[in-house]
C-alpha cells in the first residue's frame, strides 16, 4: 500500500514532460523590436538646452549696474550737500521760503480750534 504512494524518478520525469510549455505570445518579437527602435530614436534626439535662465541671470547683472551707479551717486551728492544746485530753481526757492518762515506744524491752529469748542 505504501509502495503505491511513492513515486520513482522515471515516473516523475514522465509527469514533468507533460508540464505546460508556454508558446511565445504572438507579436512578442515585433513588440520588442518596436521598443528597441523607440529607444534608438530617443538616443538620436538632441535635447534642447534651456539657455533662457542663463541669459536672464546675465541680464540681471547688467540691469543692476545702472541702479548701483545711481544709488552711489545719490549717496555722494546727499552727503556732500551739493545736490541742491542740480535741482530746479522753483523747487529750491520754495524750500528756502519754508525754511526762513519756520516750520509749519499746525499746532497753533489746533489750539485755537480747541478753545472755540470749549466756549
Amino acid at each position: 500500500m505504501m509502495r503505491d504512494k511513492q513515486m520513482n524518478d522515471d515516473e516523475l520525469d514522465r509527469l514533468l514532460a507533460a508540464a505546460s510549455r508556454p508558446a511565445l505570445p504572438v507579436g512578442a518579437l515585433a513588440r520588442l523590436n518596436a521598443r528597441l527602435a523607440q529607444e534608438s530614436g530617443a538616443g538620436n534626439v538632441i535635447a534642447l538646452q534651456r539657455k533662457a535662465p542663463a541669459q536672464r541671470r546675465r541680464l540681471g547683472w547688467l540691469a543692476g549696474l545702472p541702479l548701483a551707479a545711481s544709488l552711489a551717486l545719490g549717496l555722494y551728492l546727499g552727503s556732500a550737500g551739493g545736490g541742491s544746485s542740480l535741482l530746479p530753481a522753483a523747487f529750491t526757492e520754495t524750500l528756502v521760503g519754508v525754511s526762513s518762515a519756520g516750520p509749519e506744524t499746525g499746532i497753533e491752529e489746533a489750539e485755537s480750534w480747541a478753545e472755540e469748542d470749549l466756549t
Binding site: 513515486m7 516523475l12 507533460a18 505546460s20 505570445p25 528597441l36
Partner: protein, 201 residues
C-alpha cells in the same frame, strides 16, 4: 542592392553571438534583433515558469533585452550571454513581484474535486495543470533550478552560474525539488500517469 541586403541577412544569421554583440554595441539594431530571435524564447519561457505563467512574463523578458541593448558591454564574454539574460530577467521578475507576491493556484485540489468519478482518469490538460501547480508550489530557488536544468537543459555548471551558487548547492536544490514534487504528486500518481496514457476508465 537586393543581393547585398540578402547577403547582409545571411551574414547576420551565421554571425556568432560575439559578432552580434559587437555590432549591437555600435547600435546595429539588425544585429541585436538577431540576438533577440535567438534567445528571447528561452528567456520568456524561464520567466513564464518562474512567475507561474504570469501575464507580465513577456514584459519582463523584454526589459532584460532592453537593458542589454542600452549597454551591450555589460556582457564581457559572448559565451555568458544566455546566462546573463536569464539572471537579469530573473532579478527583474523578483523585483516586480516583491511587492505583490505571486499567487499559486491550488490545482491539485481543483482537479480532484472536478472528477465526476473517483476512478476516472484525468485528461492531458488536467495532468499538465496538476504538474504546473505542483511546480508552482515549490520554493522559488528550487523551481528556478528545476526550470534551468530539467526544462531548459542547461548543464549543472551553467545553471549554477546563472543562479550564482556552487554546483553542489544547485544539485541540492534540484534534489529537494524532485523530492518535493514526488511527495506532492504521489497521492494522485496512478490517475496522473493514466491521464498521460490517455486512459479513461
Amino acid at each position: 542592392m537586393l543581393a547585398s541586403v540578402r547577403q547582409q541577412r545571411a551574414d547576420l544569421h551565421q554571425a556568432s553571438d560575439a559578432d552580434l554583440l559587437l555590432a549591437a554595441s555600435r547600435k546595429d539594431q539588425a544585429a541585436f534583433s538577431r540576438l533577440v530571435e535567438r534567445h528571447f524564447t528561452l528567456v520568456h519561457r524561464v520567466v513564464w515558469r518562474q512567475s507561474n505563467g504570469h501575464a507580465d512574463a513577456e514584459d519582463i523578458a523584454q526589459e532584460a533585452f532592453l537593458r542589454l541593448w542600452r549597454n551591450p558591454a555589460q556582457v564581457r564574454e559572448a559565451g555568458a550571454l544566455k546566462g546573463w539574460l536569464l539572471r537579469v530577467a530573473h532579478n527583474l521578475m523578483m523585483d516586480r513581484f516583491r511587492q505583490t507576491p505571486l499567487q499559486v493556484l491550488d490545482d491539485e485540489d481543483r482537479i480532484v474535486d472536478s472528477r465526476d468519478n473517483a476512478e476516472e482518469a484525468l485528461g492531458r490538460t488536467e495532468v499538465a495543470a496538476a504538474i504546473d501547480g505542483a511546480i508552482a508550489r515549490l520554493p522559488e530557488r528550487q523551481r528556478f533550478a528545476l526550470t534551468l536544468v530539467h526544462f531548459e537543459q542547461l548543464t549543472n555548471i551553467a545553471a549554477a552560474e546563472v543562479m550564482e551558487v556552487s554546483v553542489d548547492a544547485l544539485e541540492s536544490l534540484l534534489s529537494r525539488a524532485r523530492r518535493s514534487l514526488k511527495e506532492q504528486l504521489a497521492a494522485h500518481k496512478d490517475m496522473l500517469l493514466a491521464g498521460l496514457a490517455g486512459e479513461r476508465t
